[in-house]
């Protein structure tokens, strides 16, 4: 393929997505920037309503419209802005270049088609192959995710939750996509089954050379499978870095709060340290920092002025006034590094 040489798989610039509802405009995504290289896996971490899923759906251009509107931004997949694509071209991309695994395997399969047909369909749509080849390929994919190929003719209801998620993974990888987006792929599953699915995903990512965006609220899952992490709050990234940057030199007060809220299996403390308050109303527009009301370090400036993006090293940035002072020297580092 002509565009296979590029190292950057995805470059999302300043994405803004609103949902225009009767109750007002919901600002779901406010200026999201994501850059993903080949074979990298990015974890997008955040709580309900942070805009994680909306961001993912934008990459596939699957935002329900109305009420969803992409207000601004560009999404480059290997150098081409897909927001300018006609719908027909976009359809060719979905499932072949970018695939998505949805949260709930119970509802993302068609209950009246056999699982084999559902995997075959992906291959038939995207690849020129005769029907025997398609079936052989689909059976091969079943085996790859650890399901015996003689279950090709079974229906989704004959499988358990973990098995269904394996089938969804088989469908998503059937055309060797360059980018796989997994939206909370293990949230609906039990821990022992989650462990199995994470193993499968790790293996396949290596085998198929796929870049991965993993959307989750579970920092434990991120530690398991991702190289880089973006923490999102109220529709934008508030801290981004390598796994080590985020886990070992946590900078943003929200990220810090997330880690403190987790019951730690190794250190037993009597009380947890939760973040006070709850997620902000997404219809609100902020002049300053969206985390202001819940932040224990907040000063007046945080409410008045949008915090800047401050690079702490080549890989790690934080969006917070707490680090304003080191901005100058770090900017130099950034300039030198570029």
């Amino acid at each position: 393929m002509h565009r296979s040489n590029s190292e950057i798989i995805l470059d999302m610039k300043n994405l803004v997505v609103d949902y225009e509802t009767d109750d007002g405009i919901v600002h779901a995504v406010n200026g999201m920037n994501i850059k993903l290289n080949r074979k990298q896996s990015l974890g997008i971490v955040g709580e309900t309503g942070a805009g994680k899923t909306t961001t993912a759906l934008s990459i596939l251009r699957l935002i329900p419209d109305p009420p969803g509107v992409i207000k601004n931004g560009e999404i480059f997949l290997e150098g081409e802005d897909i927001l300018l694509y006609p719908e027909a071209k976009m359809r060719k991309l979905r499932g072949s270049y970018v695939s998505m695994i949805f949260q709930d395997p119970m509802t993302s399969l068609n209950p009246v088609l056999t699982v084999g047909e559902q995997i075959s369909e992906v291959i038939r749509v995207h690849r020129k192959a005769d029907s025997e080849d398609v079936i052989r390929k689909a059976k091969e994919m079943l085996e790859v995710v650890g399901i015996k190929s003689d279950r090709y003719n079974d229906f989704p209801y004959q499988f358990s939750g973990g098995m269904k998620q394996r089938i969804v993974i088989a469908m998503a990888l059937a055309c060797y996509p360059k980018l796989l987006i997994a939206d909370e792929p293990t949230t609906a599953l039990d821990v022992t089954i989650q462990a199995q699915i994470l193993e499968v995903m790790k293996d396949l990512k290596e085998k198929f050379d796929t870049s991965l965006i993993l959307i989750t609220h579970d920092l434990g899952v991120v530690a398991e499978i991702c190289d880089i992490v973006s923490v999102v709050y109220a529709g934008s990234i508030i801290e981004h870095g390598t796994l080590r940057d985020i886990f070992k030199s946590t900078k943003h007060p929200y990220t810090e709060g997330l880690f403190n809220s987790l019951p730690n299996i190794n250190a037993r403390a009597e009380f947890l340290k939760p973040i006070p308050g709850s997620m902000p109303d997404p219809t609100q527009v902020y002049t300053g920092c969206a985390f202001y009301e819940r932040c224990k370090y907040a000063v007046d400036k945080c409410n008045a002025v949008k915090p800047p993006k401050i690079w702490l090293n080549d890989t790690h940035y934080v969006v917070c006034h707490k680090y304003d002072d080191i901005e100058l020297t770090q900017k130099e580092v950034e300039n030198n590094g570029m």
Binding site: V191, A223, N264, R268, P276
Partner: protein, 318 residues
Amino acid sequence: MGCNILEVESLTKHFPTPKGLLYAVDNVTFSIKKGKTLGLVGESGCGKTTTGRCILRLLEPTSGKVIFDGKDVTKLRKKQIYLLRKEMQIIFQDPYSSLNPRMTVEGIISEPIKINKLIKNEKDIKKRVDELMDIVGLASRLRRSYPHELDGGRRQRIGVARALSLNPKFIVCDEPVSALDVSIQAQILNMLKELQKELDLTYLFITHDLSVVNHFSDDIAVMYLGKLIEKAPTLQLFENPLHPYTKALLSAIPIVDIDKKKERILIKGEIPSPVNLPDECRFAPRCNYVRDECFEKQPELIEVEPNHFVACPYAKIN
């Protein structure tokens, strides 16, 4: 050392299905001391919620005894159950479906008080509702709100206030935080812990999340396919799990520490159907250490070290 407030003896609940008997809870025995928390842990379908509901007689147990404060709950007649409700309450998993959408916050919290005629005077009821809302950290301006206007954390606080409204001694917490975001989860867990101290409550804490029980419970009981397979004080269970299933369950939790990679024990397959189970170790078909003897009969729960019970004759103490 307090005395046992709750003793569950050989509790069994079978559901008849067209395909045969479904063993939801099978011969489960445990006890909880006053003011303590027992964490009941297991994966979906293991019977932990059914156990909780049988204790409260929200479901009728097939057989077995539930002795609460000296009385056998299973022997109570329909009318006497009202009395029981004042002593034992439940907080449900899903704060989105366990609150009546057509009632205001005030209505939901005061309903148990009215039904049980605990307070008769309207004014005093109002005062009590205010007090309860204050205890669970709900602003009193929300008293006329409807559940749909509130977020998950606040709704779960209503659920807690409702459970507390009758001054119970014992509360079954059925996955009270699994539907909530982590930052909110910690708020609710802290609140439950504080309430326990202040009001001397006893909890049966049902969850699938081992890191939550580790933080929260004094003792832990692990269930698999309707059976209790291991029971121990929390620290002991985490430091020295003995049953192969408990070991796998503990190793499956993704940990947040990136430097501490632990050995993961993957178990084969998934929980089989609980219908018409043969008389063999329930975990045998998935066990990594399975031997022929495991298929001969069901293992009993035996005490292998003080207070540490395990239902596997081959589990070794290190």
